[in-house]
């Protein structure tokens, strides 16, 4: 005999248990955090043509997010030195789970799923010990924190997974502590040593690159990945008028290649790169500088291609053959042969990053 309660439970379970895919979430193609006109922060799901599909409120300013490879689920991270991360159901737009960084650690704003989406890896500042670490959280155990491993550098920021689950970590090198300047004061500029680290699927250090001594102020912060080629974007901690590379390219086993635009263009970036992305075709990659409102495009061989001006531009992600870019004035634009405005929701200020979602049915 079936009780009413049992029947209802069964019905709900039946509608939920069949594996929901990204298609059930209306096929969002991008995630982006923004501040709205009331000053509230939220995460937005965007269609392939940059129309808003859903909005989920965030308790404080967001940064980037990690998308599950198959399920319509994403984890939105607080901006440094935030300690929350929200697991979001991208079909209903609800918060499924709230993750809290353990004592003595805060999130760095980025994370990535590995092991077919069962393990979420988060970059964290172990400020209690003044070192960087990666938190491992198991989805099938309700996002329980199951382990913590070394990031092999101070200030791990963006992290990406290669197709074989090898992890690439941008260790920015900058020591911060929540007690100093709201967690944003830089405490070790003289000795900082950023690195690009590769970790095996078992989280062991496999390969690590440190730039030349005279570039030790180049904080390696953001990453893009295409076909085994890693693009890394840097934020110079020295004089913004120094002539320094802001983009590097790297393939495992090789030496990093540093890329610069011609002198005047390079200086125009104010030694700062906000985000980096390959275009959808993988035929080029681009960095943004929100400080000056400029996008620089490069060939994967390191040759500078061109510059685009757009005030307050920061987020960039692959879209079709080209890119989708976002700015603090509410604009989402596609960039390919030309620049086209897809959405001008001027009451939103898009935050640093756009994240591309997996395009599975």
């Amino acid at each position: 005999m079936t009780s009413r309660r049992g029947f209802l439970f069964g019905a709900v379970a039946a509608s939920v248990t069949p594996r929901l895919s990204w298609a059930d979430a209306g096929n969002p193609a991008f995630l982006g955090a923004a501040r709205d006109k009331n000053g509230a922060f939220a995460l937005y799901g965007l269609s392939a043509e940059a129309q808003i599909l859903f909005r989920v409120d965030l308790p404080a300013r967001g940064h980037a997010s990690a998308a599950h490879p198959t399920r319509p689920e994403a984890v939105a991270f607080a901006r440094r030195p935030g300690t929350y991360a929200l697991v979001i159901d991208c079909v209903g737009g609800q918060v499924l789970h709230k993750m809290q960084a353990p004592e003595g650690r805060h999130f760095m704003g980025h994370g990535v799923f590995v092991q077919d989406g069962d393990i979420l890896v988060t970059t964290e500042n172990n400020y209690a010990e003044g070192k960087g670490c990666l938190g491992l959280w198991q989805r099938s155990k309700g996002y329980a924190r199951i382990a913590e491993v070394d990031s092999h550098g101070i200030g791990p920021h963006e992290i990406r997974a290669m197709s074989d689950d090898t992890l690439v970590v941008a260790n920015g090198g900058i020591l911060t502590h929540p007690d100093h300047g709201g967690g944003r004061d830089k405490l070790n500029l003289d000795t900082m040593q950023p690195s690009l680290a590769y970790l095996t699927p078992q989280f062991e250090l496999e390969e690590q690159h440190v730039l030349a001594d005279d570039l030790h102020h180049a904080s390696i912060r953001h990453l893009a990945l295409h076909d085994g080629l890693v693009g890394f974007a840097m934020q110079w901690q020295g004089d913004p008028f120094d002539i320094v590379p802001l983009l590097g390219l790297h393939r495992r086993g090789a030496e990093p290649v540093l890329c610069e635009a011609p002198l005047a263009d390079q200086l125009s970036m104010k030694a700062y790169a906000s985000s980096v992305a390959f275009n959808g075709a993988g035929s080029e990659l681009a960095i943004t500088s929100s400080k000056v409102g400029r996008i620089h495009r490069f060939d994967p061989d390191g040759t500078f291609l061109s510059a685009i001006s757009r005030a307050d531009v920061s987020g960039i992600a692959p879209k079709d053959q080209g890119y989708l870019a976002s700015d603090g004035q509410g604009t989402l634009m596609s960039i390919d042969m030309d620049m086209r405005v897809l959405n001008a929701a001027s009451d939103l200020a898009w935050d640093n990053h756009l994240v591309s979602l997996p395009r599975l049915g």
Binding site: L263, S268, S290, S309, D312, Q329, M339, A344, S346
Partner: protein, 346 residues
């Protein structure tokens, strides 16, 4: 303060064919009005003045290229640039022209190296304007000229020498760049129109009046910040280690004058942009001008002296205070603020 004689060409001769869509009907609001005022009262006159002065400099170099003869026209061009340099958007930002005109700070000493190399090689690029437009930005623009005219290792050249041709090439290139900027600002579908038709259906550059107002507002603030942080901050260095040789244009004794002209440009800009007289802003900027005049130290050499240093530091602080006043006098009433990501990346 000491002044060099300055050649001036009346602007009216050039301000003939400007087409503006100021506050055009459907799009007029307080922000659009502010943009239109900045364009007509501040930006376009500055663009035309710079083009006129650099043209005069080019003509002067053709008749007498020697350093002593060229200094007044050089100073007039640099003065005109100070009225424009903060408007680093549109035609000035395109192709990084701002840096081509004024390559500073030259932290690696690239300018004397580039000039010395051209002179040593008797590089033929000076004979061909299109070729010269592709030499290093270190050998072009106002700061390359400053070396040629004011630095003892470069300025003892005669009429007809290679250095003379080089100076003529630099002045021609500079005038060309200025002319391109003026054309691109003022032609019918130029940047003045782009700003004043912000929000119109066919305007892909500025999608709303707010965007155009915001873009100009950012330039106003950035211009003052640059004067405080770079023009004043660099020579100040630290108390233990002042850096007088890092002052902008100290060779031509223009360091203080450049700060003053940048402040006067900001004053004109702010007065044009503000919906009501920006009382506090003008008060602070006027105070800065007075302090600079009282300082009587054209190249900021007194950063090495504790008392002189303090005076220069205070000038920098007052310029920074002006940016706060601008936020209140202009940002608040127009509903605009500094960029969301620009001021606060991660």
């Amino acid at each position: 303060m000491m002044m060099t004689p300055f050649v001036r060409i009346p602007l009216s001769a050039f301000a003939t064919s400007i087409v503006l869509f100021a506050g055009g009907g459907a799009y007029a609001g307080p922000q659009a009005d502010a943009v239109a005022r900045v364009v007509t009262q501040h930006a376009v006159p500055a663009v035309l003045d710079f083009s006129a002065q650099t043209k005069a400099l080019e003509v002067a170099a053709k008749s007498d290229c020697t350093a002593g003869a060229l200094a007044p026209a050089y100073n007039a061009s640099f003065d005109a640039w100070m009225g424009l340099q903060h408007l680093n958007i549109g035609p000035v930002e395109a192709d990084a022209r701002g840096l081509t005109i004024a390559f500073w700070p030259d932290k690696k000493g690239m300018i004397p190296k580039a000039l010395a190399a051209l002179i040593a090689d008797q590089d033929a690029a000076v004979a061909d304007a299109s070729e010269f437009a592709h030499v290093s930005i270190a050998a072009r623009g106002l700061f390359a000229l400053e070396f040629m005219i004011f630095d003892d290792t470069f300025n003892a050249y005669d009429q007809g020498s290679y250095s003379c041709e080089l100076v003529q090439a630099i002045t021609h290139d500079l005038a060309q760049t200025a002319d391109h900027i003026a054309q691109e600002w003022t032609r019918e579908d130029g940047f003045a129109a782009t700003l004043t038709t912000a929000g119109a259906a066919n305007n892909q550059r500025y999608l709303s009046e707010t965007e155009a107002a915001q873009a100009l507002y950012t330039m106003l603030l950035t211009g003052l910040e640059n004067s405080a942080e770079q023009r004043i901050g660099r020579p100040l260095g630290s108390f233990e280690k002042p850096r007088p040789k890092r002052a902008e244009a100290y060779r031509s004794g223009r360091s203080a004058r450049n700060v003053m002209l940048s402040v006067l440009a900001a004053r004109e800009f702010a007065a044009a942009m503000a919906p009501e007289t920006p009382q506090k802003t003008l008060e602070i900027l006027d105070e800065v001008v007075t302090k600079l005049q009282d300082l009587d130290d054209p190249s900021f050499a007194s950063v090495s002296d504790p008392f002189g240093r303090l005076k220069i530091e205070i000038i920098g602080q007052r310029i920074e205070a002006a940016t706060d006043a601008i936020a209140n006098d202009i940002g608040v009433p127009l509903g605009i603020s500094a960029g969301f990501n620009a001021s606060d990346g991660d």
